[in-house]
């Protein structure tokens, strides 16, 4: 599946879309497929500080919990209210379902992330195992 080129990706299967000094974060389609039916998403509060590479929440399916890892550091400005009422939207449209918006602390961090093409390759290798 072609991954949107308007954003970058992490090896933990998050995506991050940048707009000036702010960014939007979600999980990839590969992630939602691996998790199965998502029942609950635990997100940080507005104002929380995220650190690149550290966990900032969880995604739950019926039988498993997965940590969400921050692709970049920053302060949370908005949390998607839809997640509380309709977590299944992450399954039906992972790339369209954002989780948190934040003000970037250090935009340079994004340089180390994967492009859509690199992520697609990464996923193909993982799936091959």
């Amino acid at each position: 599946m072609p991954y949107p080129t308007d954003r970058k990706y992490t090896k933990e299967h998050e995506w991050i879309q940048v707009n000036g000094n702010s960014a939007t974060i979600g999980i990839t389609d590969y992630a939602q497929q691996s998790l199965g039916d998502i029942v609950f998403v635990e997100t940080p509060k507005v104002g929380a500080e995220l650190t690149a590479g550290k966990t900032f929440g969880t995604v739950e399916s019926v039988k498993a919990v997965s940590d969400l890892f921050a692709p970049a550091s920053g302060t949370v400005t908005e949390v998607n209210a839809d997640l509380a009422t309709s977590p299944e939207k992450v399954n039906t449209d992972a790339h369209g379902s954002w989780m948190v918006k934040l003000t970037l602390k250090n935009p340079g961090e994004l340089d180390g992330l994967l492009s859509a093409a690199d992520y697609e390759k990464f996923v193909a290798e993982e799936a091959g195992h």
Binding site: D37, F40, S61, P87, E88
Partner: protein, 496 residues
């Protein structure tokens, strides 16, 4: 039913709604005798604390209650109906004499705070069972207080921490094999220890080199299950104990798999410092649909000062008493003394067996697991070829080629009249089928089980979709767990 089986048939089965759906004002199942003291005015006595309304509590008659629960009971599988091949659960026969003796008046109705003079019966039971469990485990002392296995793990780790603290350094972490039961790391976290994963080797046993590398003075203990969750006895247990003890660490054993050891070997003899037992597994107390259990913790002498309070002692005059003067105790882990009703049952079980019965029980448990292993080898993938003790782990590797997983096979097994085995655990075997028959299964029952499993394997080849859609013969088919988790409905509500 696609394939007939001698084990089970379809039968008309009673439906039954929620009790609230039967409720109607004026029906009653109770009657109290008349008061022999003056009536009271609750409003006058309680004022604003008086409760006027008990809301939607039901009102039904006695026969409705009998039918309600009897009908519901017929929807359950149970040991009394057939084998539970669940790994590490030890679903053995729950002897009925246990139930009878637990109901004898002075035992059933003893108040935990009644004077010691009239508690000698209960104290005698606690002491006798304690002594016998100490002998069985090869340890030096025991606490009966923990209410269940996980509670026992917590108590054991509290004593581990207290021990290390008394030596000047509480230490920081617990090593836990990746094959461990989930309660192990959850418990370590509750006692404020960090968890460090210990990898298994290619035989599914503790990787000795890894253990040696990871062992240092920050490690308080290793939590080990032996035999492990693959049903394999840790043959290097001596080395394991030595590595730990050399650096002052303790060896904790999760006693869930004691059914492979009783009467044949004792954990205290092979270096275990602290362990919990599951009376509801090894010692036949009933699972009752999910509890109560009992998780006594047996220890070596070095940990004795830290036992939870109180401890049963014999006084100078020969009578038994509770000793509360335990300055180094970790404290209490629950009110009163433990699940005494389960002590009664466990003791009755040990009495019914005696030393020869216990040994024979263990031998049969291991024999049965090996018989099933032999019967299913070749049909299901066996990831580890190490000798099996009381439980065996297969995987769904072969069936996965047809898109069928362990959970699907388990659901299809239900149609054959069995309860599923343990699926997807231990985590080190992807797609695991964990099978523990226990000693309570006859050759006939096990042959039926083996036949069923073989038949399902054939079905996977011929018609995998049929297996994927299983079970076909239950009153409810696979339930929507996703909806249950997304929009939890956790109580009945009256129609508004």
């Amino acid at each position: 039913m696609k394939h007939a089986t001698p084990k089970a048939s379809l039968q008309v089965n009673q439906n039954e709604g929620l009790i609230f759906e039967k409720s109607s004002a004026g029906k009653a199942a109770w009657k109290l005798p008349p008061l022999d003291v003056p009536e009271v005015d609750a409003a006058a006595l309680l004022g604003t604390a008086e409760r006027k309304d008990l809301g939607n509590m039901p009102e039904v008659s006695e026969i409705e209650i009998i039918r309600h629960f009897t009908r519901m009971s017929t929807w359950n599988y149970a040991i009394d109906l057939g084998m539970y091949p669940l790994g590490s659960c030890t679903m053995k026969y729950n002897p009925r004499v246990n139930e009878a003796v637990a109901r004898v008046e002075g035992i059933a109705n003893g108040h935990p705070y009644q004077p010691e003079k009239i508690s000698q019966g209960a104290l005698h039971i606690i002491k006798t069972l304690s002594e016998q469990l100490i002998e069985i485990t090869g340890m030096d002392a025991i606490t009966m207080q923990p209410a269940a296995g996980a509670h026992g793990e917590m108590t054991g780790l509290l004593m581990v921490r207290a021990y290390h603290q008394s030596k000047g350094n509480a230490r920081k972490k617990i090593l836990i094999p990746d094959s461990a039961h989930g309660t192990n790391p959850a418990t370590a976290a509750m006692v404020n220890y960090a968890v460090e994963n210990l990898k298994s080797d290619s035989r599914g046993m503790v990787d000795i080199a890894a253990l040696a590398a990871q062992m240092n003075e920050d490690v308080a203990a290793l939590m080990l299950t032996n035999p492990n969750t693959l049903g394999v006895f840790e043959q290097d247990i001596h080395k394991i104990a030595d590595i730990l003890h050399a650096k002052g660490g303790l060896l904790y054993m999760d006693g869930a798999n004691m059914n492979a050891l009783v009467g044949k070997v004792r954990p205290g003899d092979f270096g275990v410092d602290v362990m919990h037992l599951n009376l509801h597994k090894t010692f036949s107390t009933p699972h009752g649909g999910g509890g109560p259990g009992s998780g006594p913790v047996a220890i070596k002498k070095a940990l004795e000062p830290f036992l939870p309070t109180p401890v049963v002692i014999t006084k100078a005059d020969g009578t038994l008493a509770f000793d509360y003067n335990r300055p180094q105790s970790v404290g209490r882990v629950r009110a009163f003394y433990g699940n005494f009703g389960m002590f009664v049952r466990a003791l009755a079980y040990i009495q019914a067996n005696g030393p020869d019965g216990l040994r024979q029980t263990t031998e049969d448990a291991v024999l049965n697991a090996n018989y099933i292993r032999k019967g299913l080898e070749g049909t299901y993938d066996l990831p580890y070829s190490t000798p099996t003790m009381h439980e065996v782990v297969f995987s769904d590797k072969v069936q996965l080629k047809k898109g069928v997983r362990t959970m699907d096979i388990a659901k299809r097994l239900i149609d054959y009249g069995f309860h599923p085995y343990t699926t997807a655990f231990p985590l080190i075997v992807p797609g695991a089928l964990m099978i523990e028959p226990t000693e309570s299964e006859s050759v006939e029952e096990m042959d039926l089980f083996i036949e069923a499993m073989k038949s399902i394997a054939e079905e996977v080849e011929e018609d995998p979709q049929y297996v994927l859609d299983a079970p076909h013969s239950t009153r409810v088919s696979r339930l929507d767990e996703t909806a249950a988790a997304r929009k939890p409905v956790l109580r009945w509500k009256p129609a508004s």
